[in-house]
Amino acid sequence: MSEVAIDSDITVRTLLAAAGLTPSEAEIASLVDAYPRHKAGIESLYAIPETRYESPALIFNPTPVFADWSE
């Protein structure tokens, strides 16, 4: 197994275990296979200099309205 493959295998298994998820070995293999591309997508998000001082599209409302959706 290549170094990247070993790294992906260890990383995916560790992350799944940390999340308490128990996929089959076949499913783990599929996730390991997909991981480099997924990781590359994540890394691409940090490769945009213009995001350095950008605010995230996340808003915390200090005065939320609590209402039942079925009423």
């Binding site: 998820l21 599929s30 994540i42 998000l45 945009i48 950008e54 995230p56 959706w69």
Partner: protein, 474 residues
């Protein structure tokens, strides 16, 4: 039977008011049609035949008493089975959803449609929790495409899409987090609208992505979608993401004239090398028709396209995993195979990655302001292909199809509204689709363009040959 029944909501509304057809007659006919066709299309999870007939009867009484609630009164519609409806169960096409969650209650979208007199015929097949592609090992119907029953109707609003295309009801509700209204609309040859994020309250709907979910209309025409949006849009306090803003007159905006409308043409990210051979020609013809209606065409490029899609995938998986975490730990194999693999990706990113993805979305919104300073709409194909086979979307390659051959995620990530309308067929006879995205809260303009385009074309009215044959033989 087929030629006597209305094909669109507008047609039905006219016939009901002219006394040419009652809601009970229409609903009864569509129930009979569902008996014939649903076993082949896998449209319904649950049918509400008696309930629908009771609602239809009430609609007819209201008409007789001079009570007119609007264009959807007495019109049979379908409801995607991740929205709770008080009358019947909600499953999200899953063994996992707690039945008690939606039992005996329904949210603002359903309430508004029923208050408008719509006849809900039942709950419609969806990808599991709007995410997992069909799994034959699970006890739910597999949905099929009425244009070719070996092919996928798309998802996740599969039943809404194939049900409208098959004529089982005249409109319906879908939801869209990465394309789940627009892809089934595209692959079934009908019209669908993803409204602006926060335009329609999404409470009472099982979530997939809290920052990405949209509820919206699907129907044969942009006009019918406009009428439905006018009913379901508007603030509701139960959905914190819902924006308190006046609802436009979407039907009133459908003037048919696109003079002065600037349409950005986005080719850079919409024509991969393996696009269907008919795609470019259909797209160029559609653009020419929009130009003939008065629109000005301007070439544009969407900013940060790949990164925005990557951001959506990070946030959607994380938000889904947060919702499903406990159930996925305890009931992993009760989930569909592709739901498991999709949601598990939520564990493959850090909290910082999630925040960074949110920053990329914000940057893209900022840069889109410059794009929409030069154009009013952005046009591109919805997908580069006609519907893939059911085997292709059930296997490990399905993600590749959604990511590389469908062009819907970008607009979910930035929150803009996007309308899709049929624009022709592949050589195999599979529908192709045009997507028109607008500025936030300018659904009226997208609908206006789509409706105008549909005055020059009839793609949206085509009936799958299989359906015509089945109805003729009945």
């Amino acid at each position: 039977m087929a030629k006597d029944l209305p094909v669109t909501v507008a047609d039905a509304a006219a016939m009901l008011r002219a006394g040419e057809l009652s809601s009970v007659e229409l609903t009864s006919a569509l129930i009979a049609r569902a008996d014939l066709i649903d076993p082949k299309t896998g449209t319904y999870v649950a049918r509400f035949d008696d309930y629908a007939l009771a609602k239809a009867e009430q609609a007819d009484k209201d008409f007789a008493n001079g009570v007119d609630k609007g264009p959807y009164q007495g019109v049979p519609i379908g409801m995607k089975d991740i929205l709770a409806v008080a009358h019947g169960p909600t499953t999200a096409n899953s063994l996992v959803l707690d039945p008690a969650w939606g039992e005996g209650r329904q949210g603002p979208v359903v309430n508004r449609l029923e208050a408008a007199g719509a006849v809900i015929t039942g709950k419609l097949t969806t990808s599991e929790f709007a995410m997992g592609d069909p799994d034959p090992t699970k006890p739910f119907a597999i949905p099929y495409n009425p244009w070719d029953l070996t092919r996928s109707p798309g998802g996740s609003s599969a039943g809404t899409g194939n049900g409208i295309a098959s004529g089982l009801f005249l409109a319906g509700i879908g939801t869209d987090t990465g394309g789940s209204i627009r892809i089934p609309a595209a692959w079934n040859g009908i019209t669908g609208l993803m409204p602006t994020f926060g335009r329609v309250p999404k409470s009472g709907c099982a979530p997939l992505g809290y920052s990405l979910d949209h509820i919206g209309p699907m129907a044969r025409t942009a006009r019918d979608c406009a009428a439905m949006l006018g009913i379901i849009a508007g603030y509701h306090p139960s959905d914190e993401s819902c924006v308190d803003r006046p609802v436009d007159d979407y039907v009133g905006a459908l003037t048919g004239d696109l003079t002065g409308v600037r349409i950005g043409v986005e080719r850079a990210h919409h024509f991969p090398l393996d696009s269907d051979p008919a795609l470019a020609g259909c797209f160029d013809t559609a653009l020419a028709q929009l130009s003939a209606l008065g629109a000005e065409l301007i070439e544009v490029t969407l900013p940060r396209y790949d990164e925005v899609n990557a951001a959506l995938n990070v946030m959607m998986a994380a938000e889904a995993l947060a919702y499903h975490h406990g159930d996925m730990q305890a009931r992993w194999f009760d989930y569909y195979a592709l739901t498991r693999s999709n949601v598990a990706l939520g564990a493959m990113a850090s909290a910082a990655d999630y925040v960074q993805a949110a920053r990329v979305r914000r940057l893209a919104q900022r840069e889109l302001v410059d794009v929409f300073a030069t154009v009013d709409l952005v046009a591109g194909p919805t997908s580069s292909i006609g519907a893939p086979t059911s085997d292709e979307v059930s296997g490990p390659a399905s993600s590749e199809i959604w990511w590389t051959k469908c062009f819907t995620e970008y607009w979910d990530a930035v929150g803009n509204p996007a309308l899709v309308v049929p624009m022709g067929f592949t050589d195999r006879g599979l529908p192709l689709s045009l997507q028109l995205a607008a500025r936030p809260f300018e659904e009226a303009l997208a609908l206006k363009a789509g409706a105008a385009y549909q005055t020059l074309t009839d793609w949206h009215l085509r009936v799958p040959p299989i359906i015509t044959e089945l109805l003729a033989a009945a």
